[in-house]
């Protein structure tokens, strides 16, 4: 356990991380590009200044992260389990048996404890699509890195700074102009669980003009021990382009996960995000977007299905910076047993962002009297010709629907499972990628059956 100092709005960064950063610096021995060094230097100062958020900070009101800071997670940059052939083999089997990501695509990049594993990856690339590990890109693709890396994600809290200091690997995806990539790009981050580690994945996705791609990020663990994943994905989408992004938080129920996806949209471009949280003990997602060109469009879909003592916190921020943009957000939550959920949907409409259309909805289904959700829309509108709607609901399984199904010969358990699936389907319908949608739908049914089986005991 680390000695930590808690002030009103701030938990000081512990000696543990400062010491480990020093070790890492010596370890890297000057092998990193100068502009990255600068980023790290600024981030270190920022981390010392702002520390980690307490629950006195409005954006962290419902999520207590003290237990994450208290633990001495070893930075995975300094561990070497990823080199172990047994662990690589185990990871391979975990991917092959994964209900969601197995057999999805021929383009796949795998990272164990934050390190790129070439033998499990297939980053076959064409002239129009650059797909490679970020560490490699830092050396080989300096132009695109210098233009886009760390340009969109601001340091909003200590976790963001920590990622800047410790980021290990991730992907650079550069989709060039006029490129339609139909094959989804699957990125898999595996926690080996050999030690209580922190991994800091970092991805950069750049989409040129008139292009289209689909990226699936997934997080899994091999063992059920406390681990910490602190990830940042930055996305830049140029004019008339479309990117569909999926995130699956499917780590063990002892894991901590803080994730940020920061997107910048140019004129007439479209970003669609599907964010799924099934695993993790504490999960916090920040999904932020700036609609920075006229005619840009964003769609945020989310589904969290948690149980046990899981805590999931989704914070989204849609920033309408330019006029004539559309944003649509639809998040659904299923909370079982003693789980807890937080949804905060912030929409900013900047001065001059006229003719903005912004929609937001969050619906929750509580499967137990002990489950809890805090849901809040947050609208800040500085333009006068806009249309914004928002709504939130919290409810239980509808008894009349249950009786209707049972009266048709369907067992109570099966009927409950069908109704939960139906609830989830309303958001899954928005996944146009059918093989993935079917897998997720099956996964939801299985989750539900596991919960119902436990009730029987």
């Amino acid at each position: 356990m680390a000695e930590i100092i808690i002030k009103k709005n701030k938990i000081d960064v512990s000696e543990w991380y400062l010491k480990n950063f020093e070790i890492l610096e010596q370890h890297n021995n000057g092998s990193i590009p100068d502009f990255i060094k600068t980023i790290k230097k600024i981030s270190l100062q920022k981390l010392i200044d702002i520390g980690f958020p307490t629950q006195k900070v409005e954006d962290w009101k419902y999520t207590n992260i003290i237990q994450i800071i208290e633990k001495n997670f070893k930075p995975s940059n300094l561990t070497e389990y990823w080199k172990n052939s047994e662990i690589i083999e185990k990871s391979k089997r975990a991917i092959e048996s994964d209900q969601i990501i197995s057999n999805l695509s021929s383009l796949q990049l795998v990272f164990i404890d934050g390190h790129f594993i070439e033998q499990l990856s297939n980053a076959q690339k064409s002239q129009n699509l650059e797909l490679l590990p970020l560490q490699k890109a830092l050396k080989e693709k300096t132009e695109i890195i210098q233009n886009h890396f760390n340009k969109y994600a601001q340091i909003e809290n200590g976790f963001n700074a920590l990622n800047n200091l410790f980021f290990s690997d991730g992907i650079l995806l550069n989709v060039k102009d006029n490129t339609i990539e139909d094959e989804p790009i699957v990125v898999i981050f595996i926690q080996s669980g050999e030690e209580e580690q922190i991994i800091n994945p970092r991805n950069l996705i750049v989409v040129g003009n008139n292009s289209k791609a689909r990226v699936i990020e997934t997080f899994i663990s091999l063992k059920n021990i406390p681990n910490f994943t602190n990830t940042i994905t930055e996305i830049f989408i140029s004019e008339n382009s479309f990117l569909e992004h999926f995130k699956f938080q499917n780590e063990s129920l002892s894991s901590y996960h803080i994730g940020k996806i920061q997107t910048q949209l140019e004129k007439n471009s479209n970003f669609t995000s599907h964010n799924f949280t099934f695993g993790g003990l504490i999960t916090r997602n920040d999904i932020n977007i700036v609609l920075d060109g006229e005619g840009a469009e964003s769609h945020f879909y989310g589904l969290y299905f948690v149980k046990d003592k899981q805590h999931v916190d989704n914070h989204t921020l849609v920033d309408h910076a330019k006029p004539h943009c559309l944003s649509n957000e639809f998040y659904k939550g299923i909370l079982a047993e003693n789980s807890r959920g937080v949804f905060n949907g912030k929409i900013i409409v900047r001065k001059g962002a006229q003719k903005t259309n912004a929609y937001q909805s969050n619906k929750n289904l509580l499967l137990s009297g002990n489950a809890k959700i805090d849901t809040k829309p947050q609208l800040e509108i500085f333009a006068d010709d806009v249309r914004c709607t928002h709504g939130a609901t919290v409810g239980q399984i509808d008894e009349d629907s249950l009786f209707y199904l049972r009266s048709r010969g369907i067992d109570e358990k099966n009927a409950r499972s069908l109704l939960v699936n139906a609830f989830a389907n309303e958001v899954l319908y928005n996944m146009t990628f059918e093989p993935l949608r079917n897998k997720v739908s099956d996964f939801v049914i299985e989750q539900m059956n596991q919960i119902l089986q436990k009730l029987d005991k």
Binding site: D398, E399, D400, S401, F403, Y404, L405, R406, S407, R408, G409, I410, D411, E412, N414, A415, L418, L419, N421, A422, F423, A424, N425, E426
Partner: protein, 254 residues
Amino acid sequence: MLKIKDLVVKVEDKEILKGVNLEVNTGEVHAIMGPNGSGKSTLANVIAGKEGYEIVSGEIWYKDINLLELPPEERAKLGIFLAFQYPVEIPGISNATLLKTAINEIRKARGEEELDAMEFLSLMREKMKLLEMTEEMLSRSVNAGFSGGEKKRNEIFQMLMLEPKLAVLDETDSGLDIDALKIVANGVNLLRQDMSDRAIIVVTHYQRLLNYIIPDFVHVLYNGRIVKSGNKELALELEAKGYDWLKSEDKVTV
């Protein structure tokens, strides 16, 4: 087939059924009529096994099985079907999924093999045609966004698919225009073509449905009791005289 003895049922401390006796034999169609609040829907729901009703006393026997001991799904598996007065909308479950799950659960209970996708589809197509329904409704969510008439038609479609032994139709005529009424009645009469192991109970406020589904027996449920029973002529008499006529007779009956 169905025997109800001295059934007394309370809802939230209020006695709704105050001693109902009814016997329905194989091959028969019974109509249960009565004014609003007389207990018609309660009776239908209790037969189907809806929770929230307190059975104070009495019995319901179905083919020598004590129905009151069974959950609704077991009753359905024995062949009991309730066409709802207010069919529930269930967004996210398609009509096809509902029916496929239901049919296969019922078949499993009967020791029959599950239907494969092709058999199921052709069966659905056949029944839909009879009810003048379009195929696109199969992929639509159960009753979601359906008009009142579409919902009732969907109930009859489910009934034809599940081929119940005892069908209870709870005010299936309410909210239907005359064309929809004819289609629905036609559906019921299709089921009636084979009554060798079947009975039908039609619960209705008005006589007009009974012009198309001609009952063998008519009962009047009033104030929680069956106060009068007769043949189809009774329905016409009620239509002509209204229910007030019974209220005065109530005291002399029983």
